[in-house]
């Protein structure tokens, strides 16, 4: 019995660790493939979330789309004279 429980726990933990640590693009592809199968509601919802581009990625989570690097242009500072009232 102990052996069976250990096998279940280790398998689940390995699956979770692999799922979390694989690159985001691979996880999204895997989630989209997995969604073709019938899953219980909670698991399906998690898979749908994982299949979207906005995936959590760290301590505080982050859901941005990639930003292109801005041009390396210095920002001019304009000083406006205070108009007299």
């Amino acid at each position: 019995m102990q052996n069976l429980l250990v096998a279940l726990i280790v398998t689940a933990c390995t699956g979770y660790a692999v799922w979390i640590l694989i690159p985001g693009a691979l996880r999204r592809t895997a989630a989209r493939q997995a969604l073709k199968w019938p899953w219980p509601g909670a698991i399906a919802a998690r898979l749908q979330k994982a299949a979207k581009v906005s995936s959590g990625c760290g301590c505080d989570g982050c859901d941005a789309k990639p930003l292109k690097p801005a041009a390396d242009a210095a920002q001019p500072i304009r000083i406006h004279r205070q108009p007299k009232l």
Partner: protein, 620 residues
């Protein structure tokens, strides 16, 4: 009610200048717990939450980064402009705009409102911090302001539990908001907009132009080039003293609870693999990490107070000179400071830096700042190898922790200096940052902030740290030792073989095979290394002493040179995989995260080698 509830869901966007209270209002409206602080640039990405009105209508609320105008100068302002104008590929423009303004800073805030009005969308003005303005004698004729702007105006107090009641009432009547006509003429210049703001304020709040937001006497000390720096150093020093001095009692309580649970399982469960998994894997590993929760909370208690008080941007100005000398923008201070919590929000916060080269340099050094995941590693090693005694009135362990944090900062500055001279060259960008007024830290913000830190830490312990500890226990237990084996079983396991293989690389810097194993899961999250050491030593031990406490075991088995070498490794340790993923996303290239991983590994190895050899030389 049913008629209104049948209406399609409404999407509103909270738009306003930085630090006017948008995110606090967003949290109040939606029940979210997004980070709030008293300085500009906390929110750098759009966040969406939902509120259901009394009528049953659902409203999606979009919180946006602060912007001074719809002509963006930084990546975070671009996000705001794109969402408001409906220029994002994946979403339409919001149905209505809630323009949030700081009632104590109307001359600055109303300019953006006039720009937004020209878009011709349904709008409502949220006059936030109206209580502060009123308490300090600023009279605002709300009805006249509404008439002048041609939109409903409501007073809000985003830090009070019912401070959004008037805004909710307005959202119920959204269908009746006047629809402004989109302006067809040329966009007015900032000077023209400012002139219009002054005209309106002369009518509705004559005292607004002379309203004093700052305490100049206090700033004369806090921002003094000498006394200000001294004050900053003393503040940080005292914080790290408190981390060690105040945490003892709760840490001892957690340690006892962890030890008691191990003993209870040993007493009530038959010997077998499940008992070994629970005691040697879960309790020795996860229990060894969770014990550091009080220290993390004490550190963040002080950081949150500094954030909420308005002190941090002043520290940015104080350090602008230093930042400029190493080639970083003064704006890099806040992202680097955010990296003390975690490098990921720090790297995302670099979106407030307009110049790409300055931004890239800040991203490349952000992981060198000491993130909270390193704290358990430092605390374990300091607790094991630095004696508990006072140096004058100060705790030696606290001084050591302070020195390690300073080492992280100094190394970040050194690397930035080198990068800006040989690779990412750019000229000095003057620091332009809006100073917030001082405020007493808000108890609600403080509680939410601490709760969030605790939740994040416990979630990590319960998910990724737990999973990796279980996997490591499995790798440390199988295959079983051959018949007649004399050493501990772990030496014959997969983890033992991996540790011995890695030791070839790490032996020159004094790491044994147990440390070499712990470094591998430490790549997923740095604090996993502590849990991994707990599991590996528990599997190597013949009694249950490691499940009780790892610290005395490593103190007895490691040399001082090895401990110092491991500390030096973690000052520069290659960042976790999540950080690399975020760097890739923020820079749109694999080149930068790979370069980052390579230089940090080289730096960590070199620092550990020098530390190990120097300590050995001193010891002999």
């Amino acid at each position: 009610m049913s008629d209104v509830a049948a209406l399609p869901g409404l999407r509103i966007a909270l738009v306003g200048n930085p630090n006017c209270g948008k995110t606090a209002l967003f949290n109040l409206l939606t029940g979210a717990r997004q980070k709030v602080a008293n300085y500009a640039g906390v929110t750098v990405e759009r966040k969406v939450g939902t509120v259901t009105l009394k009528s049953g209508r659902s409203v999606s609320v979009i919180d946006l980064p602060g912007a001074y105008s719809l002509t963006p100068s930084t990546p975070d302002e671009t996000v705001t402009r794109d969402v408001v104008l409906g220029q994002r590929a994946d979403e339409a423009a919001p149905d209505a705009i809630v323009a949030v303004v700081d009632a104590t800073n109307l001359p600055m805030n109303l300019r953006l409102v006039l720009e937004l009005k020209r878009l011709g969308r349904p709008m409502v003005l949220s006059l936030n911090m109206a209580d502060v303005a009123r308490a300090r004698g600023l009279q605002i004729d709300v009805a006249r302001l509404s008439a002048e702007l041609g939109m409903p105006v409501v007073e809000t107090i985003a830090v009070q539990s019912h401070g959004h009641a008037a805004l909710l009432a307005q959202l119920e009547q959204q269908a009746s908001w006047p629809m402004a006509t989109a302006a067809a003429d040329a966009t007015p210049s900032p000077a023209q907009l400012q002139r219009e703001v002054r005209r309106i304020l002369a009518l509705v709040a004559p005292g607004a132009m002379q309203f004093k937001r700052f305490n100049h006497k206090l700033d004369a000390v806090v921002m003094h080039p000498v006394w200000g720096l001294a004050l900053l150093a003393v503040l940080l020093f005292l914080i790290f003293q408190a981390v060690f001095s105040w945490a003892n009692l709760p840490m001892d309580a957690i340690k006892e609870a962890v030890a008691a649970s191990g003993e209870w399982i040993n007493a009530h469960m038959a010997d077998g693999p499940l008992r070994s998994l629970l005691v040697d894997g879960v309790i020795a590993g996860v229990g060894g990490v969770i014990v550091f929760l009080p220290q993390i909370l004490i550190l963040f208690f002080f950081i949150l107070i500094l954030e909420d008080s308005g002190y941090l941007p002043r520290a940015a100005f104080l350090l602008d000179n230093v930042m400029g000398k190493v080639g970083l923008s003064g704006r890099a201070f806040i992202p680097l400071l955010s990296s003390f919590a975690c490098a990921i929000p720090g790297i995302m916060a670099t979106r407030t830096i307009p110049n790409w080269r300055d931004r890239l340099a800040t991203i490349m050094v952000a992981p060198l700042m000491t993130c909270s995941a390193r704290l358990p590693v430092y605390a374990l090693l300091i607790g094991a190898f630095v004696p508990v005694r006072n140096v004058g009135p100060f705790n030696l362990q606290g001084i050591t922790l302070f020195v390690l944090y300073v080492a992280g900062v100094v190394s970040a500055m050194g690397v930035a200096w080198l990068l800006k001279r040989v690779w990412i060259k750019s000229s000095y960008q003057p620091l332009m940052l809006e100073l917030p007024p001082y405020r007493w830290p808000n108890l609600r913000n403080l509680s939410i902030g601490l709760w969030e830190r605790a939740r994040i830490f416990i979630t990590r312990v319960g998910t990724i740290i737990f999973s990796l500890t279980v996997v490591l226990w499995f790798l440390s237990s199988y295959p079983a030792p051959p018949d007649g084996a004399t050493g501990p079983a772990i030496q014959y396991s997969l983890a033992g073989m991996l540790g011995n293989a890695l030791q070839v690389i790490f032996a020159p810097i004094g790491f044994n095979w147990q440390i070499s194993i712990a470094l591998v899961p430490g790549l997923a999250a740095r604090e996993v290394a502590v849990g991994a050491l707990g599991t590996v030593y528990a599997m190597s031990a013949t009694t249950g002493e490691v499940a009780d406490a790892l610290s005395p075991v490593i103190a007895a088995q490691w040399s001082l040179a090895t401990a110092f070498s491991l500390i030096a490794w973690y000052v520069f340790a290659p960042q976790c995989l999540s950080t690399l993923a975020v760097v890739k996303r923020e820079t749109n290239s694999w080149r930068y995260p790979l370069l980052m991983a390579a230089y940090m590994f080289a730096l960590a190895y070199a620092a550990s080698f020098i530390t190990y050899r120097t300590t050995l030389w001193f010891m002999h």
